[in-house]
């Protein structure tokens, strides 16, 4: 890792876009999180805490948690008390992830990780209430932005690598994951079943390629141009619902401006 990683600075506007998108995605993600928690807290349902006895709160507090998460997500999006809002949002999201095996979500894990990194960055330096209150900066330390980029890269890379198995590449898991209405429309249009195999292969290798291409200046633009419809297709066709997949897409998109942002070699 070059020493410049720790001394270079990045255009604060790019990090501000990341912050806004993560805030909006965290607000959207509340829909899925509420559903998960409410379902787990139904009486007589089995809870699966990681540590016996350390689990979810009482059902009466579900609205409090949702309100707290929404407030923190809003503060992050508008850049009000940016750093504490980001760190508290991350803590709340990690709590939900770790409270029970059933409340885990890859989408929420990504958002919690990005919120943590935004809390370490000076992400409220532009396009924010904090900037309006005299904390504006044109450039901010780049190392947290680098970690946001690696986080999204890792999600694409391992998302693709994990799909390199017979069940996924055969198309069987793609077939099961597509919403029934969409599936029936595809099949009734006379499209052969091999389309699901093709989708399995192409999506797995596309995710791996994205992890590589985002770091290549010449391939970066084509990667983003292809990634947007890829995520849009997932939002429109994959189960269980559009909202959490939209939140996931926004979380992934949030890192894209950082790959295009202007870096400067430092300051102190």
């Amino acid at each position: 890792m070059p020493a410049a990683t720790f001394t270079s600075v990045i255009d604060a506007r790019a990090l501000a876009v990341t912050r806004v998108l993560v805030g909006v995605a965290s607000a959207i993600q509340i829909v899925e999180t509420r559903g998960y928690i409410a379902a787990v807290l139904v009486p007589d349902r089995l809870t699966l805490p990681y540590v016996p006895g350390v689990g979810l709160f009482d059902a009466a507090y579900l609205n409090h948690l949702s309100l707290l998460t929404a407030s923190l997500a809003l503060c992050l999006a508008i850049g009000l008390f940016t750093r504490p809002a980001a760190l508290c949002l991350s803590a709340v999201e990690f709590y939900v992830i770790l409270a029970d095996q059933q409340t885990y979500s890859n989408h929420l894990l990504l958002l919690a990780s990005l919120a943590l990194l935004l809390g370490l960055a000076r992400s409220g330096a532009r396009y924010s209430v904090d900037a309006q209150r005299g904390k504006a900066e044109d450039f901010v330390p780049a190392w947290p932005a680098t970690l946001i980029k690696t986080q999204v890269t890792v999600a694409y890379l391992f998302g693709g690598l994990a799909k390199l198995n017979t069940a996924y590449l055969s198309g069987a898991l793609v077939y099961q994951s597509i919403r029934p209405g969409v599936r029936e429309a595809i099949l009734s249009a006379g499209v052969p079943m091999t389309v699901f195999t093709l989708l399995g292969f192409s999506s797995a290798f596309f995710e791996i390629w994205l992890a590589y291409a985002l770091w290549q200046p010449r391939r970066r633009k084509p990667a983003v141009i292809l990634a947007v419809p890829f995520h849009a297709l997932m939002v429109l066709t994959i189960m269980p619902a559009a909202a959490p997949l939209a939140a996931f897409a926004l979380a992934m998109f949030s890192a894209y401006p950082l790959f295009f942002a202007r870096y400067d070699a430092e300051t102190t």
């Binding site: 990683t5 409410a38 349902r45 699966l48 059933q102 370490l120 970690l147 391992f158 998302g159 898991l173």
Partner: protein
């Protein structure tokens, strides 16, 4: 300090999913293994009162995630509630797995 934080976070970002990919049953949590498989049984059959019948995992678990490891906690709960002698998990792509239920000691 920032170097320590940077490398600690970077290591966590890479090592945890790499470990999950290499050593955990797929799909594993904390490994970005979205839609990469299913650990859930396709059917759960219990033997109780001399007969066999199917039970639904959704009657026991609120959120049936594909990455859930149910094999430790769910069979004992099914045994207790269904007064079963045996719980069998059936999978679409591997052999069934049987969980004998603990039986109360018989009277002398």
């Amino acid at each position: 300090m920032r170097q320590v934080a940077f490398f600690a976070i970077l290591a966590a970002q890479v090592v945890i999913p790499a470990w999950q990919l290499a050593f955990a049953v797929r799909p594993a949590r904390f490994g970005w293994q979205m839609y990469a498989g299913s650990r859930l049984p396709s059917r759960i059959v219990v033997s109780a009162g001399g007969a066999e019948r199917e039970v639904l995992a959704s009657d026991y678990l609120g959120n049936l995630r594909l990455d859930l490891d149910t094999e430790e906690r769910l069979p004992p709960t099914i045994c207790r509630r269904e007064r079963a002698v045996r719980v069998v998990y059936h999978f679409p792509d591997r052999e069934p797995r049987e969980f004998p239920c603990p039986q109360p000691p018989s009277l002398p």
